[in-house]
Amino acid sequence: MARAIAERLSATGTVNALELRGVTKRFGALLALDDVTLSVRPGERRAILGSNGAGKTTLLNCITGDFPASSGTIRFFGEDVTRFPAHERIRRGLRRTYQISLLFGGLSVLDNVYLACLGVSRGRFSLLRPRRDDALVESARALVHAVHLDEVAEKKVAELAHGQQRQLEVALALAGAPRFLLFDEPAAGLSPAERADLVAILQGLPAHMGYVIIEHDMDVALRVVESVTLMHEGRIFKEGTPEEIEADPEVQELYLGHGRG
């Protein structure tokens, strides 16, 4: 019920998909996130840039609840999810990929995606074995197709090439009905052809599906987003359109100058 209301609100644009206020994360003495305040509209596509160790991944981890923020609040479509465990946030339509692929190496591609579909379905505790024409299996097949992995669908993930594993990461995030996605360097280590493939997948996502993408490759990042947030040493350092960011002399100095772009 609450979700339906939130959805309607979001449709009228009054509620942000993501709303972070003063989010801080400490690892011992290290301040990995320092008072991050950020909002992303539903359907908005945003890149987060920043040098190594800027805290980008940590930010995603706090948003998804992989580990809790030290302080601050996080709202997802208006709902305060700060104290929610990860799975509760996922069940509300948040999805993510990992910078270092976190897959089930011993399972086939299809089974990986099947688990992802199961995770956001009601049958998680089911004791009935899936039939071949099971709705979840069907949707898993569709997803495998969507990320162009049909040929290796029955292959064990451990035997996959790096690029294919990255694509599978994306597929796992697309399971169910995501409302907002977080991509952590999905293009890392991909060949130019695979990058083009990824860009096509991202651009092909339905327009209401907003996302945040961490990406070092400006070519990829700037083609798939409409806004950019720059992070530095755990803080948000600048926000703007891709053009503004690219043109900003300070940014050029700090990031593009000796970044990895």
Partner: protein, 354 residues
């Protein structure tokens, strides 16, 4: 995308800056603790009003349960501290720890039988059991580093084998290590238990040996804490607890450190065996009993933390003694309940390091 290496998160003063900070961070817990201490002090020192005696029985019973609990806690601390030290550094849950305790006890018993010397039996127990620990580390655990579960299974196997070997050698009898003369007998404490109608006060008389042993375990605990917090070796150990890879990378002879800590932890268990054999008794089955006591103590106190072991040992010792005095058929439930509560509300243990 090389992931930034793990950070050194040395937090100066987090442990050392101690009391004031803890109190500041947990004002309620500190208050409750202070109240509990005051209450206990009052119960020990005051002349009990009738009303109280009706509730808690004779003051004598209460005070001796308290003393027994605290001294038992001292013994538990001696056993558990080696366990927690070994886990803290090597992530090895040594379920043969109880066997080391019992082995120390038997060794000391045989030493005292043969020579009549009590103090040197500590040395014998410490050294021989430490050697066993050393051998275990070098011959077995070194070859399975990082395989926590397998190491633990090995320690279970070892504990079965040790138990049977000890049964073979020493048989199934109960042994008590005789207390040396200079420690035998009770000591008069200034604690008034009762006032006779004629105005004469009855003082608590308590076994000297238990008090001495308790004092010794406090000294050992403090020394250990100092060694770990103020010396170079201790610093290395703490660094190892926080981040083993970094320690390995920094050129420290980590295997030597592991072997020494394992030997030392085992030796402590052996010495605890002498203590246990002196003020209780040793027999087959005591290995399991003390293994379990160690487990519960470190689960309560926080695995890997020495102050945690001290606190856990005190709590469990007290719970056991008060339980067996006031609710004999449910005594075990008390220690267990403490463990359950800690797991429910602070699963990492009361004073956990991380």
């Amino acid at each position: 995308m090389a992931r930034a290496g793990a950070m050194a998160t040395g937090e100066p003063g987090a442990e050392g800056g101690g009391l004031a900070r803890r109190v500041e961070r947990h004002p309620l817990a500190a208050l409750l603790l202070a109240l509990a201490i005051v209450l206990f002090l009052w119960l020990v020192l005051a002349d009990w009003p009738e009303e109280l005696e009706r509730w808690l029985g004779r003051k004598r019973v209460f005070v001796s349960a308290l003393f027994n609990g605290i001294t038992l806690g001292g013994l538990y601390f001696l056993v558990a501290t080696g366990f927690t030290l070994i886990f803290g550094l090597m992530r090895n849950v040594n379920l043969a720890h109880g066997s080391l305790y019992l082995f120390g006890g038997y060794l000391a018993y045989s030493t005292v039988q043969a020579t009549g010397l009590w103090l040197p039996s500590f040395l014998v127990a410490f050294v021989l059991v430490a050697i066993v620990g050393l051998l275990l580390q070098v011959l077995v655990f070194r070859h399975m580093e990082g395989q926590e579960l397998r190491q633990t299974l090995v320690t279970i196997g070892l504990s079965i084998v040790f138990a049977d070997l000890m049964l073979w050698v020493w048989g199934g009898d109960f042994y008590q290590i005789p207390t040396p003369e200079w420690l035998a007998g009770p000591i008069d404490t200034p604690i008034v238990l009762d006032v006779r109608p004629n105005g004469e006060a009855v003082y608590l008389r308590y076994p000297r040996v238990r008090l001495v042993i308790f004092a010794a375990s406090v000294v050992i605990g403090v020394l250990l804490w100092l060694a770990i917090n103020k010396t170079r070796v201790g610093m290395l150990i703490r660094a190892g607890v926080d981040d083993r890879e970094m320690l390995a990378a920094s050129g420290v002879p980590i295997q030597l450190l592991f072997a020494l800590v394992f030997a030392f932890g085992a030796g402590l268990a052996g010495m605890a065996g002498v203590v246990g054999g002196t003020f209780q008794s040793i027999s087959p089955g005591e290995d399991t009993r003390f293994l379990l006591a160690s487990l519960v103590v470190v689960i309560v106190g926080g695995l890997g933390s020495i102050p945690g072991a001290a606190l856990g040992a005190l709590l469990i010792g007290l719970a056991e003694q008060f339980g067996s005095v006031y609710l004999p058929t449910y005594a075990i439930v008390f220690s267990f309940l403490i463990m359950v509560l800690v797991l429910a509300f602070r699963p990492q243990g009361l004073l956990s390091v991380r």
